[in-house]
């Protein structure tokens, strides 16, 4: 029994340490971009019209307005606390999802810790008491003389069993227990009681006064269903129902192990949460509250959306930086690959830079390989082949794929002339799906 539990503690300790290190964000700290800062602020600001959503999650018009305000404030160079203060000035402190850790709101932060501590303490007490009981229980009632039972422990257990029997009676009478359940419960308790009495008798202690509650129980029970209790006790003593009596202590131990594991996991997550909230320099919205994958995916998506916006507004530098940061975390993100490849191609084409062109080509080829049905990557690669290599045939091959992948009409209209000229240069008939005469 000792060894496996020691191993369990070691594993749990290791999990705790790893979780704390990961949660503190020591390993993955880099200065956040404006978009990341905005996303972080947005995720801690409550949507004004929808109570328990952050403005990052909500699509309500007001949430959109708040998001726009946050982005603008950050672009104007305000710090995160200043942006939050700006919103608090208008909506009051409840606009921030996290209640402030001062005044009465401090209770909200402390109570879970206190409750958790109390729960852990209770757990320890219960486990220690259980183990003591099961150790005193020895190998169970059916396996010959066990170790001496301390008289007060025996009395306590007997009172407990008597109470249990009385409870079962009361519930049976109130109609809360079926006949079957009642008999099973009763039999279980009587078997235990009989075993206990047997051991107490063996201990040859001075006569113990029967507890009043127990006397009640025995009398009441035997009056109503005569025979059953006696029979059950008898069967137990002769070992007829050995499995029930024998299986008890082992199952109890296993359940305590479960309690231990669950309790420790709860404690671990509470600690991780506390550390991420209080200790680290991490942005509040980037916290790792148990959903690493989702948060990372969401961030990627937001970065990509922000980059697309920047690109549309002609802020190529910002967009490229965002795509870089996405690729830094997910080297195989084909959207970022294709878009960054395209930006590099455009810049390299203008500045006639061979190295940028090479980078662009590598990225676009990779994007096409990763997702053969990515029409944007096909279009970019085709254009690169046409303009850089004057390879009309290669470009047409890419453009054919592009057309086959059902690109949006706006993109098709934009790319129409380019595609048309590629087909003409390659001496091939222009497909009917290419717009523009």
């Amino acid at each position: 029994m000792r060894r496996p539990r020691f191993g369990l503690w070691t594993v749990l300790g290791a999990v705790l340490v790893v979780a704390l290190v990961l949660g503190s964000g020591i390993l993955t700290s880099s200065p956040p971009t404006d978009a990341q800062r905005a996303a972080a602020v947005e995720s801690v600001v409550r949507c004004p019209t929808c109570e328990d959503l952050s403005v990052a999650q909500s699509t309500a018009p007001t949430a959109v307005a708040v998001r726009a305000a946050v982005t603008q404030q950050i672009a104007e160079g305000r710090s995160d606390p200043q942006v939050e203060a700006y919103l608090v000035d208008r909506y009051g402190s409840s606009i921030v999802l996290d209640p402030p850790a001062r005044g009465w709101s401090l209770l909200v932060w402390l109570l879970p810790l206190l409750g958790g501590g109390a729960a852990v303490a209770a757990l320890v007490v219960v486990l220690v008491r259980r183990r003591r009981l099961s150790e005193q229980d020895g190998g169970g009632p059916g396996t010959g003389p066990g170790p001496e039972l301390m008289p007060e422990v025996a009395a306590e257990r007997r009172t407990f069993l008597a109470r249990s029997l009385a409870d079962a009676d009361a519930e049976y009478l109130a109609g809360d227990l079926s006949d079957q359940d009642y008999l099973a419960l009763r039999q279980r308790d009587l078997v235990r009681l009989a075993a206990l009495e047997a051991r107490m008798g063996r201990a040859a202690a001075a006569a113990v006064e029967p507890e009043p509650a127990m006397a009640h129980a025995s009398v009441a029970v035997d009056e109503r269903v005569p025979g059953v209790g006696v029979a059950a006790a008898h069967r137990a003593e002769t070992g007829a129902s050995a499995p029930g009596a024998e299986g008890r202590p082992r199952r109890r131990l296993r359940r305590s192990t479960w309690f231990l594991v669950v309790g420790c996991l709860c404690l671990t997550s509470a600690l991780v949460l506390a550390v991420t909230t209080f200790a680290s320099g991490r942005q509040p919205g980037q916290s790792a509250t148990g959903t690493f994958a989702q948060t990372a995916a969401q961030q990627t998506e937001e970065s990509l959306a922000q980059a697309a916006t920047d690109e549309n507004q002609g802020q190529v530098g910002e967009a490229a930086q965002l795509y870089q940061s996405v690729l830094h975390q997910h080297a195989d993100n084909e959207v970022a690959l294709a878009q960054l490849g395209w930006l590099e191609f455009e810049t390299g084409h203008q500045g006639n830079s061979a190295s940028l062109m090479a980078d662009a080509r590598a990225k676009l080829l990779r994007a096409v390989r990763l997702d053969p049905s990515d029409y944007a990557a096909r279009l970019y690669l085709g254009t690169l082949l046409l303009q850089r290599d004057a390879d009309a045939t290669g470009a047409v091959a890419q453009y054919r794929q592009f057309l086959a992948d059902r690109p949006p009409a706006a993109l098709l209209a934009q790319a129409g002339p380019e595609i048309r000229s590629a087909f003409q240069q390659a001496g091939m008939p222009v497909p009917a799906s290419v717009p523009g005469a």
Binding site: P48, V64, D89, Y91, A166, H216, A217, A220
Partner: protein, 205 residues
């Protein structure tokens, strides 16, 4: 916890052994108690009139701040600007056509405007909040609204005033300060009282 016999009442049958397990009937009593409380709450909330000029806390009112500028397009496409110091009281009313308390306060606002418009001491100015311009206009036409209504398409006005729910109204004093904020529907009488209070505390001209 000790449950007295009076609370617990007769338990089970006479043959049942005393004392009965404590706690079992406590649950029943707790359930009954919760039921009564929630039924009472439902009764109170359901019979309460929704338009009764409930004042709400708002940072602008708490600090007696100068009203954030109201300027931009109206629902009919013209542009409107509220003077920095309007010279008379202005009820700035954020509303939506779908919201029931808004529909209840609508006639009250019309009455308020009617009472004060000729005297020139107060007027109403509406802002569409969480609604489409088309719906808001149709609703106002049916109501007979004569005052300007801001479209606030980007929600900037609602953000500037920290509006959380429909309907919310702000009372702007003649000197341009926000002196009261009302949520959940206003009445003409309630607004008049707020104006009188502001007058009494020296916010009038």
């Amino acid at each position: 916890m000790s449950v007295g016999p009076g609370v617990d009442g007769p338990t089970g049958s006479p043959t049942s052994p005393p004392p009965p397990a404590p706690g079992r009937h406590t649950a029943r009593w707790v359930a009954v108690f919760v039921l009564i409380v929630s039924a009472g709450l439902v009764a109170v909330l359901a019979t309460r009139p929704s338009a009764q000029t409930v004042e709400a806390r708002n940072p602008l009112v708490d600090t007696h701040a100068v009203a954030p500028p109201v300027a931009g397009a109206t629902v009919v496409g013209t542009s409107y600007r509220l003077p920095r110091a309007p010279g008379h009281y202005v009820v700035l009313n954020f509303f939506a056509s779908w919201c029931v308390p808004c529909q209840e306060e609508g006639p009250e606002l019309v009455a308020f405007q009617f009472q004060h418009h000729l005297r020139g001491d107060a007027s109403v100015l509406s802002v569409v909040f969480e609604d489409t311009i088309g719906d808001a206009r149709a609703y106002q036409q049916k109501l007979g609204v004569t005052w300007p209504t801001m479209a606030d398409n980007d929600g900037a006005l609602a953000l500037a005033y920290g509006v959380r729910s429909d309907p919310t109204s702000f009372l702007i004093a003649p000197d341009g300060r926000v002196v009261a904020s009302v949520t959940g529907g206003a009445t003409a009488q309630g607004l008049n009282q707020l104006v009188a209070r502001a007058e009494a505390s020296g916010y009038g001209t």
